[in-house]
């Protein structure tokens, strides 16, 4: 047994004959029994990484192992130990919920009686018992995603890959899935989660890597990433955009990075929270500029992302999805 549930070293993968470089040397180590977050905007390479680790794609270079088994050389050993729930609910529309789970169980080579019992158990656990005998045509987006996750769990895999499990879901369905994921981890499952929602990574993941354009640009715990950025974010609201523009040169040097200006609002990342905040207020007051609002807060992962990549996580175009209502 190796120390880590999943290990990857210098994974490189490109598409379209090298034109699109999805991964440019990604290494990661996923400790057992916790959620490991792979954070990044669309097109950053998260899904490619998950597909390589789940043996769907082979890397152009680099080595990856799951529970010590090489994903390229021993794919079947890997497949026996993983569950995969994708960004899209990959379940069969024409089958019932129960039939979907039974099919996945059979393909996992579980004994027939075990499959039936396990399918019923999962349907109950995911609140799908009633819907279990209906075909998926009448399922909501949240129900499909729950069934998709249930399908990944049929064979009780010790390692679960969740590729943007809550993308496109309504807040309630998202909360439900988060609770389920937390319960799984309590039960000892290792989860590798990709997400573009910083809130999701913040809530679930103990360790994080931030991926941008196929490379890891930061890693650590969510607290470490925030600490790396600075201690405090000061948001100043002015009466008008003109006032904000006038105030900007006065406080610019207090910020650890270029201040974010949004209309009449300025956000500063402060070196040493309270004293710098007081300094900012004194300077503005001295120049006769009044502020209409003030907010001091701990940096969110959004701030981390912004400082690392120069753009917000949501700035990247997001794919519209019709199936997730």
């Amino acid at each position: 047994m190796t120390e880590f549930a999943v290990e990857a070293h210098d994974i490189v993968r490109s598409f379209k004959d090298g034109e699109v470089k999805a991964l440019r040397g990604v290494s990661l180590q996923v400790p057992r029994g916790q959620v490991f977050g792979l954070l990044g905007p669309n097109g950053s390479g998260k899904t490619t990484m998950v597909r390589i680790l789940s043996t769907i794609l082979t890397p152009d270079a680099g080595v990856a192992t799951v529970e010590g088994f090489d994903v390229v050389k021993q794919p079947n050993e890997v497949r026996r130990r993983i569950g995969l729930a994708g960004q899209y609910a990959t379940v069969d529309e024409n089958l019932t919920g129960f039939e979907n789970l039974r099919m996945i169980g059979s393909l996992n080579h579980m004994p027939k009686a075990t499959v039936v019992a396990r399918a019923k158990e999962l349907l109950e656990q995911f609140g799908l018992t009633e819907a279990g005998n209906r075909t998926l045509k009448g399922y909501s987006g949240g129900m499909r995603r729950r069934l998709d996750l249930a399908a990944a769990l049929v064979a009780r895999p010790p390692i679960l890959f969740l590729d943007e499990p809550t993308t496109g879901l309504d807040p309630q369905s998202r909360q439900d899935l988060w609770t389920i994921i937390e319960q799984l981890v309590e039960g000892g499952t290792t989860v590798l989660l990709t997400t573009q929602y910083l809130e999701e990574a913040d809530r679930l993941a103990k360790q994080l890597v931030v991926l941008n354009k196929g490379q890891i640009i930061a890693q650590g715990t969510s607290a470490e990433l925030k600490a790396q950025l600075g201690t405090t974010v000061l948001a100043l609201s002015f009466a008008s955009t003109t006032d904000a523009q006038a105030g900007l040169p006065l406080v610019r040097d207090l910020s650890k990075q270029e201040p974010v200006v949004e209309g009449s609002r300025i956000e500063l990342t402060l070196h040493d929270g309270p004293s710098a905040a007081a300094d900012a207020l004194r300077r503005l007051d001295g120049a006769g500029l009044t502020i209409s609002g003030l907010n001091l807060r701990e940096p969110s992962l959004d701030d981390v992302f912004l400082s690392l990549t120069g753009h917000k996580a949501e700035d990247e175009p997001t794919t519209t999805r019709k199936d997730a209502k």
């Binding site: 769907i56 497949r79 026996r80 069969d92 099919m103 399908a151």
Partner: protein
């Protein structure tokens, strides 16, 4: 690490089990979507009625075949398997597009089971259609004189032909970016194969440049063989040629589709 020999120990057993699981999935879907089964069965019945009662009177048949209905029914059987294979291409393209293939690829199942299961389900569907169309044929005056054994031989040949088509169209489905394109891609394939053949009319009535293609293409060979065996009329070497086409195509198309499946994203 000790799990490896265990996996290889039962690999054939699991390959069969996985194939049956996948086949069951497609058969359930076929039953669930009534339009697909209705389409598969109603459409050939329409063709039987159309050619038996509308066009048939205008199509003279030479040789000892007798009435046009005897010429027609074996042809319709071949045509139905060709049109039915379009569903294989569409179905696989759809599975690929929706990410279901992706899920299968992350499972410890036999690699070939998806295609083997799909083509097996097609075989079951074709067998059902064969029985139904034969029944309809008898109702509209089909009177084969080839004997029971030859009739069974014809059916086996037909199903082999249909099975090869499934693999060929599976390849098309895996090569297509989505199910709509898959459907569009099959059209230029099935149109000349079906209509520039001996399915509905005798090849010698066609212009000579078309005859060269029509006479030698596998659909004509298969239709001639199936017809000859069912009716008990001379059909030259066509049953052997059809058999050779069928087995040959399977040897080529099977691995080709399997390779495509492995590489399909």
């Amino acid at each position: 690490m000790s799990a490896t020999p265990l996996a290889q120990h039962g690999s054939l057993k699991w390959a069969i089990s996985d194939t049956l699981t996948i086949a069951r999935r497609y058969i359930l879907a076929l039953i669930r979507i009534p339009t697909s089964l209705v389409f598969a069965i109603i459409q050939p019945i329409m063709f039987v009625l159309l050619f038996r009662y509308v066009f048939g009177g205008a199509i003279p048949i030479r040789g000892g075949i007798g009435t046009y209905v005897n010429y027609l029914i074996p042809g319709i059987l071949v045509q139905t398997t060709i049109f039915g294979a379009v569903g294989t291409a569409i179905g696989l393209a759809d599975d690929l597009q929706k990410g279901l293939v992706e899920r299968f690829r992350a499972l410890p199942m036999a690699r070939m089971a998806v295609l083997a299961g799909r083509t097996l389900a097609d075989l079951a569907r074709n067998l059902l259609i064969l029985v139904v169309i034969t029944g309809i044929g008898f109702l509209v005056g089909f009177n084969p004189g080839g004997g029971f054994i030859a009739y069974i031989q014809a059916c086996v040949l037909l199903l082999l032909f249909a099975y090869c088509l499934s693999w060929g169209f599976a390849y098309v489905g895996l090569a297509a970016p989505n199910s709509e394109t898959a459907q569009a891609m099959t059209f230029p394939l099935i149109f000349p194969l079906t209509f520039a053949s001996s399915i509905f009319v005798q090849v010698q009535t066609m212009p000579s440049w078309l005859q060269a293609f029509a006479r030698n293409q596998p659909v004509t060979q298969t239709a001639d063989a199936v017809r000859g065996l069912m009716l008990g009329t001379p059909h030259g070497h066509s049953s052997w040629i059809a058999l050779a086409w069928g087995l040959g195509a399977l040897v080529v198309l099977g691995p080709l589709a399997t390779r495509k499946y492995r590489r399909a994203a």
